[in-house]
């Protein structure tokens, strides 16, 4: 074997390259027809499906929010009763966290990371497709539950004993527990893919210190997923087994403990906030260089800030449990840790401001959303510092103050940059521009609507209005601020609707984007929009952090990868030096079959334990088809084959 070497192509090789795209297209294009669509394992297709599906559930979760706001708009309203209201707020929270926020961020990762690192697909394309189908089944399952009056009703955190076998009768909580298992399985499949793709599939020359910030964000988030999601899978399995086979993990009468649930749940659910938030940091760090026409300030510090946010994020979960009666030392520790997390976020804020200061800002829609993020997330961060302190937390615990705080952090901190990212990368994904006037209008409506909705909730919380109540008495005096919040929710919903219509119309009628409409810096802007099935005709090499801005015209491209087989280049972790060639699997129905078998197992187990062995056997069959060896290549046979 010879090492990779730079050279110039001979005239004969150059002639051979005149139409390399045709051969690549044959190798990388998915099979035709509906079955071909089901078999597709291209990261762009799977990423698009994740993003579209997540936005559908964002819309559905938003409709639930609007129903809640209408119910709360005035005192003693009777639009929905208490039982339905419980199902609605639980499904709203579960949908937004499990079916929208995490999948949409991961969907962007699935779509973008291979393009950003300059390769042709993710490291494990079939696992990627499996992850999507499992997510889809779990998501539909939750909503079928709600629509059949079996929607979970004990809050998105499903505290026991309310969610336990004694009080949570029926199948409502089981629906939630299995939905969690589906979505976490999916999140883990994506996380494995994104970690290995960003560590091993980077373009030659893209050393770690040249990795795009969004890839860093995806990598850090994925590592968090690997260590956080098992906690909720374990906890939801324990909850399900307490309910279905009479174990006693959370049963205080038999030596279990309801607080154990809270520990396990928040050990997952606080990092979950950062799993949603850190990709948004990656969006902001991608949009700012493009729209301030300058390089980021303090790249290594930014990366370290994200790493430390992730690290500290695992040590703050107990601040959700201050009201449960903890040892004072524990309270102090978790207050300190919760305050500590403001430091890396603050550092990033100042570094972004420094880049904006240095650059020449172009106020296009993605940048407007980033500015909306700055303002809104700052408020959310500051109220976070407030509720990190135990005395204040005890005052506002379980009130609308916390509802305001969490929406400032999650919508301001994650959804605003996300919508900015939609406007930024839509041209790459579809080849067409979103309408800019509609974008500006949407940003204005979303920003104003958001503040009108959630800022009054701070005051409502301080006035003592509890969360999760379906109505309130007129004498409380909470009516006017609630009405204001409901009007704000309408404006916010309108703003989101403008963007959704913009997306719907522009995907066919928008202006043609060209490969690099923003004159941005990332590798993805060097290929066509939308990218071909194989992403790059020749895989690129890079020599610094902003390849589209700084690569010389004679920057070498990778030559010598197989075109008739789906071959990719594997590189070293630190310096991304070429290491070996590897062949990816082809499109197949196995991932969707395995996902359906998984669905039979999880959903069936709610009704009978026999679903586990039966579903397990079905999964095994699907996996055998999945891993069935393709026809071997003669040149890669082992010399002493039987």
């Amino acid at each position: 074997m010879t090492p990779a070497a730079e050279r110039e192509l001979t005239p004969a090789e150059l002639a051979e390259l005149t139409d390399p795209g045709a051969e690549l297209a044959r190798t990388w294009t998915r099979p035709a027809g509906f079955l071909g669509w089901l078999r597709d394992i291209d990261h762009k297709a799977i990423g698009r499906r994740y993003i579209v599906t997540a936005f559908v559930f964002f819309g559905l979760g938003g409709v639930l929010a609007l129903i809640m706001r209408l119910q709360l708009a005035r005192p003693d309203a009777t639009l929905v009763g208490p039982d339905l209201y419980n199902q609605i707020f639980t499904t709203h929270g579960s949908t937004m966290m499990f079916l929208f926020a995490v999948p949409v961020m991961q969907g962007f990762g699935v779509y973008l990371v291979p393009l950003l690192v300059g390769t042709r697909n993710v490291a494990f394309p079939r696992l990627n497709a499996y992850g999507y189908w499992v997510y889809l089944i779990g998501a539909v399952f939750l909503w079928v539950g709600l629509l059949t009056n079996t929607g979970p009703d004990a809050g998105w955190f499903m505290y026991v004993p309310l969610a336990g076998p004694e009080y949570g009768t029926g199948k409502r909580v089981d629906v939630w527990a299995q939905m969690v298992t589906f979505t976490e399985l999916s999140a883990l499949a994506v996380a494995i893919n994104l970690i290995v793709t960003s560590l091993k599939l980077r373009a030659p020359g893209m050393a770690l210190h040249r990795m795009p910030m969004f890839v860093w964000a995806s990598l850090i988030t994925s590592v968090m997923v690997v260590f956080a999601m098992p906690a909720v899978m374990l906890a939801s399995s324990q909850l399900a087994s307490d309910r279905l086979v009479a174990t006693h993990f959370f049963n205080a009468a038999e030596g279990g403990d309801p607080l154990l649930w809270q520990h396990l749940f928040w050990y997952f659910a606080h990092p979950e906030v950062y799993i949603i938030f850190i990709p948004a940091l990656g969006f902001v760090s991608s949009i700012i260089p493009a729209f301030a026409r300058t390089q980021l300030v303090g790249y290594p510090v930014m990366v370290l800030a994200m790493v430390s946010t992730a690290f500290i994020g695992f040590g703050v979960w107990v601040h959700h449990m201050f009201a449960t009666g903890l040892p004072q030392l524990g309270q102090s520790f978790f207050t300190a840790a919760s305050l500590l997390i403001a430091i890396p976020t603050g550092i990033q804020m100042f570094l972004w401001l420094a880049a904006l200061w240095r650059g020449r800002i172009r106020l296009a829609t993605p940048m407007l959303y980033v500015l909306a993020f700055f303002f809104t997330f700052l408020i959310g961060g500051l109220t976070g510092v407030m509720v990190a302190s135990v005395p204040l937390d005890l005052q506002v615990h379980d009130t609308f103050f916390v509802v305001a705080h969490l929406h400032y952090v999650l919508i301001g901190g994650a959804v605003f940059p996300l919508i900015g990212a939609v406007y930024y990368w839509f041209p790459k994904i579809t080849g067409r521009m979103l309408d800019e006037r509609a974008g500006v209008l949407s940003c204005a409506l979303v920003f104003v609507g958001f503040q009108l909705t959630f800022f009054p909730m701070h005051q409502l919380g301080l006035d003592g209005m509890p969360r999760r109540i379906f109505t309130y008495d007129e004498a409380t005096g909470w009516g006017p601020l609630n009405l204001l919040a409901t009007i704000g929710a309408g404006v916010l919903g309108l703003g989101i609707l403008v963007t959704l219509i913009n997306v719907w119309v522009s995907r066919r009628r928008g202006a043609i984007a060209g490969s690099d409409p923003w004159l941005a810096d990332g590798l993805e802007w060097t290929t066509s929009s939308p990218p071909p099935p194989y992403n790059y005709r020749e895989l690129p090499t890079v020599r610094d952090r902003y390849p589209a801005w700084t690569s010389p015209p004679d920057q070498p491209v990778v030559h010598g990868l197989g075109r008739r087989r789906p071959e990719i280049l594997i590189t070293g972790i630190i310096d991304a030096e070429p290491d070996h060639r590897s062949e990816l699997p082809t499109a197949t129905l196995a991932p969707i079959a395995a996902a359906l078998a998984t669905g039979v197992t999880f959903i069936g187990s709610i009704f009978t334990p026999w679903a586990v062995p039966i579903g397990g056997a079905l999964v095994t069959v699907a996996l055998i088809v999945w891993f069935w060896p393709r026809r071997p290549h003669r040149d890669e046979m082992f010399e002493v084959s039987p």
Binding site: E6, L14, F124, A191, T247, H248, D257
Partner: protein, 200 residues
Amino acid sequence: MNRRVLDVSGLPTKAFGPRDTMWWAVMLLIAIESTMLALLAVTYFYIRSRTTPFPPVAVPHAAAWLATVELAVWLVSAVPTYAAGRAAVAGDLPRMRRQLILGTALGVIAAVLRWYEIHLLPMRWDSHAYGSVVWALLGLQWVHALTGIGENLLYIVLLYVGPVEDKHRVDVEVSTPLWYFVIAGAALAWAVVFLEVLVS
């Protein structure tokens, strides 16, 4: 027009250990499942701190000794597993088959011992929280063991039936960390559940 290229056509089509993508996937799977096991161990000690007397029923010494024998079998199985990995790197097919069969057979013996151990326990999963967590810990680790055994059996069939490609050597080599993880899990389950019984 000239075109500067980085020619990778001479690079190999396989690599062992951390150079291979599948090795990383195996490591991440181990990280995920280790987190599950670790949190179950935390659950055990959490329940332990809230149960008096602890344990609520006396676990027979026979079960603990059987578990100790099981752990010993697991530990011994590391030797042929390591040898199978080395044979895969060296390209020694007969040795790969032999060592893989030996390691897997030891794994099967250990898994059967676990089955008997669970039957010696004086409680069911629904007796009390202690019973729930012991069954969960031993059960989850048992599922890990069965997964490792199942994977090895598939490789053994493949290595006998063929066609064996060069990359299957990589598959066998990168599966060895998974087996070590199963052994480590067995050691954890033994230490959490049975060590206290043995020294009491």
